[in-house]
């Protein structure tokens, strides 16, 4: 049953892609309309409306997204049935190589990630029709956008279904290549073309690493089926080689530091609903690949791997948020936060590897639940924030937050929805982001029983880095929300914008916001159902997650730690209401509106507000070593001794450390190597004849 829903979901997304092909085929439709008119001439008026340019465009656009929405609903249904049944379904499709058909396997882990795809997809299908409207009259064709969005979603779902290495890689490449076209969609800007190329390049390198990792397993097992991989026993060295290749390949797609460089370039380049899917969902598919490869396909895990994953995860978390702090492009900022959140997920996975190798399967299950739950939460709030950012850009045509401000008065509904996303990503109680970070902390706190002393001190240290990153995230989102929504509008665009007339553009993010609140207040049912995933994967679960009842979350035991988000919410509302009754209602005077305090000089204007650059300046100075800061001030002076300053220009460029230390050396190396290799290409025909001659000679020698 669950597999059937999954197939329907894939089919619906493919259908959405195919339907997009009809965009440029209005001629056929006109012919069809003529045919009808000739037969029933009386319906001319109705048909005129039905087949008018506008009506056609709108219904066509809607149908694309309705199909995507259907795909999302079926994905949720498939995931829910798989997780409730706990059944594992397998199937073979008569496609692929003659001797290796596509093998399909649908278990609780795939089901959970199907749900992660499904929920943002439903929101995107609500948001999309209003958003893509502006592309219709531009130079871009909706055909490309619709076709590759459909293929992209189908590719992600097929990755989750794959049960042999061949099919997995095909689905993986389908996902990568179709999203390349989405990143390159607005290709008239050179920066987008560059981002798309970088994305494709790194996707290919990552895929190569994944193929090699499968190759190690295939070499020892002799087959390409995942079942063959599961049964093979590897020596520790080969297992480590496979693991490192897998970590590299999947980590590149997931955006772990220092393999993240494509992410902040590619995600902002794509249209907003695609960025939401890429950031919210595609990165999770990479996490799925890593979990499947490490915990399912490899027969054992080693604690050293856990240490490596933990350190990389903690590094990604901290560097992701620090780089995000310095961004002023709203979508780039959100993209860097994806790096941070992937880091949090990998901290959970690293802890899980450590505990599995220590034989503490129950705490390992806790760490896995924390990581999986954060996958879901991040998918929800990051898609919400990207869709919200898309709305803001759509309404104001400004992507730089320094040009916005005061939107809370102009976009009141969106500002509430966006605030919920902000509170969730900043990991504040009682929202969903907090629950998964809390679970990660609880998993880290069980480190006392680890045998290795190095790990025992490494685990709490990385947890404190997580705390630092969490606090910095809150700072970053105070900056984002404060500069974009609060204060005075900084430009005309920001001052004149208004709420979108298209209701779906608000309904999509609002649906995700509702889910964020729901999962934040009642996390226990979801965590209980994750027990099936960890049960299938690790052979253990959290038996006492609801020992005090379903309102309470007790991951280890009631006396060790307990958290009741619903009671927290009730407490906050109750005390807030009491304060309101007691302080305001009883003798409180009505507030009077007045000018803000201007030190007695008067004439405050929007340019005197604190800017985003100023807001993040203390962080930039404190963490100076991790940034490459270029700060220039140019002054033009006049008068005696340069007494008057005529013009003053301040320029600030903050960039990523990894460019200078990782990417440029590698690029340099590749160029040097290719120069070196190119020496054999002399361009002289005699040399090539000599090459052929000697090659023949050697071959003949080899044969005889």
């Amino acid at each position: 049953m669950s597999l059937f829903f999954a197939y329907l979901s894939v089919a619906a997304s493919l259908a959405s892609g195919v339907a997009a092909l009809a965009t440029d085929h209005r001629v056929m439709l006109d012919r069809f309309a003529d045919l009808i008119l000739r037969r029933w001439p009386r319906q001319q008026d109705q048909a005129g409306v039905l087949f008018s340019e506008r009506q056609f465009a709108e219904s066509h656009r809607n149908s694309l997204f309705v199909l995507l929405g259907i795909s999302g609903v079926f994905a949720i249904l498939a995931g829910a049935t798989a997780m409730l049944n706990g059944s594992v379904t397998t199937d073979t499709l008569p496609l692929g190589l003659p001797w290796l058909h596509w093998h399909i396997r649908f278990d609780a882990l795939s089901g959970f990630f199907f749900m992660i795809i499904g929920m943002p997809l439903c929101a995107v299908s609500l948001f999309g029709p209003g958003y893509v409207q502006e592309f219709e009259h531009g130079k871009h064709s909706l055909t490309v956008l619709g076709l590759f969005t459909g293929l992209f979603v189908a590719g992600m779902e097929l990755v989750l279904l794959a049960d042999d290495a061949f099919f997995f890689v095909i689905a993986w490449e389908l996902m990568s290549v179709s999203s390349y076209f989405l990143v390159a969609f607005q290709h008239e800007q050179a920066s987008n073309r560059r981002a798309a190329f970088l994305y494709l390049l790194m996707a290919v390198i990552g895929a190569m690493a994944i193929i090699l990792a499968f190759g190690v397993l295939a070499g020892f097992s002799g087959g390409l089926l995942f079942d063959d991989f599961r049964s093979v026993k590897l020596s520790p060295v080969w297992a480590s080689v496979a693991f490192v290749l897998g970590l590299f390949g999947f980590g590149m797609k997931a955006g772990l530091v220092p393999l993240h460089a494509w992410l902040p370039e590619a995600h902002p380049a794509a249209p907003a609903h695609v960025s939401a899917l890429m950031s919210g969902v595609m990165l999770k598919v990479a996490v799925y690949g890593f979990i499947r490869f490490t915990f399912d396909l490899l027969d054992q895990v080693m604690w050293e791997w856990g240490g490596v994953v933990l350190v990389i995860g903690a590094g990604s978390t901290l560097l992701g948020v620090l780089y995000a702090m310095m961004q002023h492009d709203i979508k780039r900022l959100l993209a860097y936060h994806s790096v941070e959140n992937i880091g949090i997920i990998f901290i959970g996975l690293g802890l899980c590897i450590i505990y599995v190798s220590e034989g503490k399967s129950q705490i390992a299950a806790l760490a896995m639940v924390a990581a999986l739950f954060h996958c879901l939460n991040h998918a929800l709030f990051k898609s919400l924030l990207f869709l919200g950012a898309g709305s803001i850009i759509h309404q104001t045509h400004e992507q730089n937050i320094e040009h916005l401000g005061g939107l809370i008065h102009r976009l009141p509904k969106l500002s509430v929805v966006f605030l919920i996303g902000t509170l969730s990503i900043a990991a504040l109680p009682p929202f969903n982001g907090f629950v998964s970070e809390w679970l990660t902390f609880q998993a880290a706190l069980q480190a006392g029983g680890i045998h290795s002393g190095v790990l025992r001190s490494l685990v709490p240290a990385s947890a404190s880095l997580l705390a630092l990153a969490g606090a910095l995230t809150a700072t970053c989102f105070v900056k984002l929300y404060g500069v974009v929504f609060l204060g005075l509008p900084r430009t005309r665009h920001a001052a004149n914008c208004h709420e979108s007339p298209h209701r779906g553009m608000l309904a999509g993010p609002a649906m995700l916001a509702g889910l964020c609140v729901l999962l934040g207040i009642f996390p226990t049912p979801m965590i209980e159902s994750l027990n099936i995933v960890t049960g299938q994967l690790l052979g253990d679960a959290l038996p006492g997650a609801s020992a005090l009842g379903w309102l309470w979350l007790t991951p280890v035991a009631p006396e060790v730690a307990s958290y009741s988000p619903s009671l927290v919410l009730v407490g906050i509302l109750l005390t807030g209401w009491l304060c309101y009754r007691l302080i305001y209602r009883r003798g409180g005077l009505e507030a009077r509106r007045a000018e803000p305090w201007d030190c007695g000089f008067g004439g405050l204007n929007s340019h005197m507000q604190y800017t985003a650059t100023a807001f993040s300046m203390p962080i930039r100075r404190i963490f100076e070593p991790v940034f490459v800061v270029e700060e220039t001030i140019s002054e033009q002076k006049s008068g005696p001794d340069g007494f008057n300053t005529d013009t003053l220009h301040y320029q600030l460029r903050v960039s990523d450390l990894s460019w200078g230390y990782v990417y440029q050396p590698v690029a340099q190396l590749v160029i040097t190597l290719s120069r070196w290799v190119s020496r054999i290409q002399t361009g002289n025909i005699r040399t090539y004849i000599a090459y052929s001659f000697f090659t023949l000679l050697i071959l003949l020698w080899g044969i005889s």
Partner: protein, 314 residues
């Protein structure tokens, strides 16, 4: 019965917080050879603020009006989960110590947003500095808490206090480091000298005050009360975690009385210590705060390492 007691304890907590602030001011004035106001002065100030007509700037949105309610209610909720004069209360189960740090973060988040809401330079500056200071303080605080939690193998405050009570007076290097670190964090988070000066209104040095500069009337009253409760929360945390002796373990009138007396004594000692440091030290430059807080982090990290190396048995 237990829930009623928890409610009474919370009421006691929030109503005695202004008294602690008054006492702190009194000690500080005496140390500076000044005449002190009555220790009930904070109550009068609060009453005056609640009666006054609040003034709100034109660009303010609903966030500006909602923030004081959020700040006060999260602070009260935090006060309700901390064992004050008795352990084993049911409210301690609602949230553990990690959630408690989350509550502070929630209140601070809204206050920082409110600082940005008016669109003046002061508010933004205060928000930026406050968020920076607290994001550096949070890992140190969590590390201190983790040291405690790993020793007691629980993050539930009530259980942790009972663990310290049960094991008796044992010299633990990790606890000493954690306590020193937590004290430094407490000074930073409550905005006291040498990190911030709660009595200043000089724009170059303001942190917390700059953020709430636009508040007046009952809104300011709520924020002031919340920061008094916050000061007391940190005092009670330090006093009851590291020196829980005297706290009531059963709910008899006698035990509760002893608990109240013991707590008063501990808080008096702590406030004298705090006012001594406030008198001795000068306020730091804003960019020296990071060094101060990294020292706090280093202390708590040492505490954690000494716990792992010296105290864990295998």
């Amino acid at each position: 019965m237990a829930w009623l007691l928890a409610l009474l304890q919370t009421l006691l907590f929030i109503s005695s917080a202004p008294l602690l602030a008054g006492w702190l001011k009194k000690v500080k004035c005496r140390l500076q050879n000044r005449r002190a106001p009555s220790i009930f002065q904070p109550y009068r100030d609060l009453r005056k603020l609640w009666k006054k007509e609040p003034i709100i700037a034109h660009p303010a949105s609903w966030i500006f009006k909602a923030a004081p309610y959020v700040v006060l209610s999260t602070t009260v909720l935090t006060a309700s989960i901390i064992p004050l004069i008795a352990v084993n209360l049911p409210t301690a189960k609602i949230a553990d110590v990690v959630v408690l740090i989350g509550f502070f973060a929630l209140g601070r988040f809204f206050l920082a947003l409110a600082g940005m809401d008016i669109g003046t330079a002061f508010g933004g500056m205060g928000s930026s500095r406050e968020m920076t200071v607290s994001s550096l303080a949070e890992p140190a605080m969590l590390m201190a808490v983790f040291t405690l939690a790993m020793s007691a193998s629980t993050t539930n405050l009530s259980e942790a206090m009972k663990y310290v009570l049960d094991t008796g007076l044992v010299l633990r290097p990790s606890f000493i480091f954690a306590m020193l670190g937590l004290m430094l964090v407490a000074v930073a988070e409550t905005g006291r000298i040498p990190v911030d000066n709660p009595t200043t209104h000089l724009e170059l040095t303001m942190i917390h005050e700059a953020m709430i500069l636009e508040y007046s009337g009952r809104y300011l009253g709520m924020i002031e009360w919340a920061s008094q409760i916050k000061l007391m929360i940190y005092g009670v945390l330090i006093a009851n975690i590291f020196f829980p002796w005297g706290i009531a373990q059963e709910f008899t009138l006698e035990a509760l009385g002893v608990g109240a007396m013991a707590l008063t004594f501990k808080l008096v000692v702590l406030t004298v210590l705090l006012s001594l440091t406030e008198v001795i030290f000068a306020k730091m430059r804003v960019f020296r705060v990071q060094e101060y807080l990294s020292f706090a982090y280093l202390l708590t990290l040492l505490g954690m390492l000494s716990h792992i190396i010296l105290e864990v048995q295998h």
